[in-house]
């Protein structure tokens, strides 16, 4: 009899919980969502992975979301996860997919047939600048040194990166050299399929410099392995106050790799509002501030229509650059 009672009570609690789903009726008062499933289009340990897990950590830590689960689905340069989300749209209302600038670049180059317009835009949340780094024992100490080495022998001054040719790391390297008045197409770009291999290549002297994300560069510099010789920010970033910006060194260029979240197409309006609400509230929590500071991210919050406008603008800017550089 007792078990039956317990069972009924549990059932009733569950029913009440289901009814009040999403409403601020919980004890902690500010829970917006019960659960979020993060779909990560790349492998564990990458930038997307860190963003999704960091965001999930802040959301659950601050009590805005009950539980967060994560799924890594790499393949097709992220296209597989996008395809999966579109194919399984009806059963994926709990899913948030993390993505970033490459979704724009890769739909321009046609790596995958979809683009951001095929998904429900939730929010752009953070940005990460790009950086050019050299090994700790490298004779190069500034962008000027790198450009001088490039002028002296372009074929021996290769720049490596973790993306395919025409991908973000390559675009940043080309953009910087273009802004420095050099022939961007003459830059020898060597792609590595994983960050670890690119680092090994940099330290072994196979490549002269590495184009990478700023937060990753800060970690590597903190471990004493690399020197950051240029950051694509407008002003120096507090996470690495000694790292010079490109603009300081007379290279007039800046670049931010945004990261944000997308949901399945046809997501019900109320659910979308809940996601956007949870993310908007997240910025004021100490939990988020801790995650953000630890990773050196920059808050760039674009929700809904703003996000759409931002993406369209970036699509145009990158498209123009790629055409100019001959990638399209």
């Amino acid at each position: 009899m007792t078990t039956l009672k317990l069972g009924r009570r549990a059932l009733m609690t569950a029913a009440v919980a289901a009814l009040s789903f999403g409403a601020p009726a919980f004890a902690d008062g500010h829970k917006v969502l019960d659960k979020v499933h993060f779909l990560i289009p790349g492998g564990a340990g990458g930038g997307w992975d860190g963003t999704a897990r960091g965001t999930g950590e802040a959301l659950t830590g601050a009590g805005l979301v009950g539980t967060a689960s994560y799924e890594n689905m790499s393949g097709g340069g992220g296209g597989k996860a996008i395809g999966f989300l579109i194919e399984n749209a009806d059963s994926s209302h709990d899913t948030l997919m993390v993505n970033s600038t490459p979704i724009v670049i890769r739909s321009l180059t046609g790596v995958f047939p979809h683009n951001f317009r095929d998904l429900t835009l939730v929010s752009g949340t953070i940005g990460d600048y790009a950086a050019i780094v050299v090994g700790k024992d490298s004779p190069l100490n500034s962008m000027g040194d790198l450009i001088a080495a490039f002028d002296a022998d372009p074929s021996k001054t290769a720049i490596g990166g973790g993306s395919v040719p025409g991908g973000m790391d390559h675009l940043v390297a080309a953009m910087v050299m273009e802004a420095a008045g050099k022939d961007a197409l003459g830059v020898k770009y060597i792609p590595y399929d994983a960050g670890g291999k690119a680092m090994a290549a940099l330290l072994s002297g196979e490549i002269a410099a590495l184009s990478t994300g700023f937060s990753e560069a800060v970690d590597l510099a903190a471990a004493g392995e690399v020197k950051i010789i240029g950051v694509t920010a407008d002003e120096r970033v507090s996470a690495a106050p000694d790292a010079q910006t490109m603009k300081e060194q007379g290279i007039d260029t800046s670049f931010v790799n945004w990261r944000g979240f997308f949901a399945a197409p046809g997501l019900p309006e109320d659910k979308l509002t809940m996601y956007q609400d949870a993310i908007a509230k997240m910025y004021d929590t100490p939990e988020w501030e801790e995650v953000r500071a630890r990773n050196g991210w920059v808050n760039i919050h674009n929700s809904g229509d703003d996000f759409q406008a931002f993406l369209e603008e970036q699509e145009k800017a990158i498209g123009d650059l790629m055409k100019k550089l001959g990638f399209l």
């Binding site: 790596v111 670890g196 330290l203």
Partner: protein, 503 residues
Amino acid sequence: MLEGLLIGLQTALSIQNLLMVIAGCLIGTFIGMLPGLGPMSIIAIMIPVAISMGDPSAALILLAGVYYGAIFGGSTSSILLNAPGVAGTVASSFDGYPMARQGKAGKALTIAAISSFAGGTIGAILLMIFAPALSSVALLFHSSEYFALMVVGLSAIAAFAGTGQVAKAMLMTVLGLIMATVGEGALFNLPRFTMGIMDLQSGFGFITLAMAMFALPEALFLVLKKKEMSGDSGEISELRISGAEAKAIAPVIGRQSLQGFFIGVLPGAGATIASFLGYAVERNIATKEEQDEFGKGAIKGLAAPETANNAACTGSFVPLLTLGIPGSGTTAILLGALIALNVTPGPRLMIDEPQVFWAVIMSMFIGNLVLLVLNLPLIPYIAKVLSVPRNYLIPFILFFTLMGAYIGQNNATELLILVAFGVCATALKFADYPLAPLLIGFILGGMMEDNFARSMQLYDGVAFIWERPMTLGLLVLAVILVLLPSFRARRAKLRAQGVADGD
């Protein structure tokens, strides 16, 4: 160093940490036995648990236990079911599975456990002594040397060509290389040979192909050729290894611990290359009679890759701990876990947090020891899997094969690919084509192409072959490894005809 050892022992031998390592080994072994769940996925599953413990040493000790357990568990499915779950244990099935079919499953598992233990332990000793000195060795290799190393790895197929199937083995290798080109190439931002199918964009999955080449044809073969089944009733006739056998595999273990460890140190090579090379090298230096045994259940052919892949796993900790460079998918995940625990691997780890460094090393010793102690008594029970009647065992194998291919990618298309390739592979097996070279070609093909393409770009052509002496040396070694068996075979044939060649 003695001081460091004591710090490590003190940390590792606390009751909590000992429980961690035992739990890790058990979890790793049992999940690792399921084909499709390799060390990488199991560690990824365990990371949240490890991180929530908060203490970096305890977390690492747990993860190291899981890691070693998973590798051992992976060999179990290779040996018993011919279903390698990770690339590093493919070579273990070459001789391990034939042994199991001959009723020597218990012996095969014992050899695997002892070889793994020895490889891991000797690797850990080498790591302890040479880690700081070896960090520079890890950086000696450029893309061109990795390319050459993959070519040496490919020469492992010569081991299958020795049985008078040179043309067939070559053909299957080339087929494997061709299959590796499906999907996006690293240097060309374009999908190749995908026929517009999104699921092929990142190429064929390793697990899918491994299951299609090994496990599925094996199960189908058993169904289609019922009569041959009378040979192995599932009786486990031999369990212990004899003194003579121990003597035979001891030098193999010694050599492969060293070779495997040094290959593991290179961030772009890892356990897979180490196991293939270990197999190829041991076969080439074995005597003629022993060579004929390779591929048919040779104890040396099992001990070599098992030792080498464990030593290489340990070796891969050198670039991780001293340079912060993950050399494999698994160490990349471990690196992520370390960073989440606020430990930054790199040159300063040994200075800033010696207790973590030494705790990792001690956990390797303890992990390996615990694994051996836990698993040796369990082997007769694990081997019992094979005494399950065939008509129950085969559906069981098929189920795990399909499940393994599915959970790896969470993609139902993998199942269609698996079944299609499995049927083709069964046809090839009936026609007596060796399937292992295809898988070796596939595994090495992708890495070989990436490194070749990078070298071509860095040197504006193939100049790297003669401009880098180490590349040239490795390529020459590969040619020797390929030619040596056929030269030996030819000499033996001539000698048999009475045309003695001087010796």
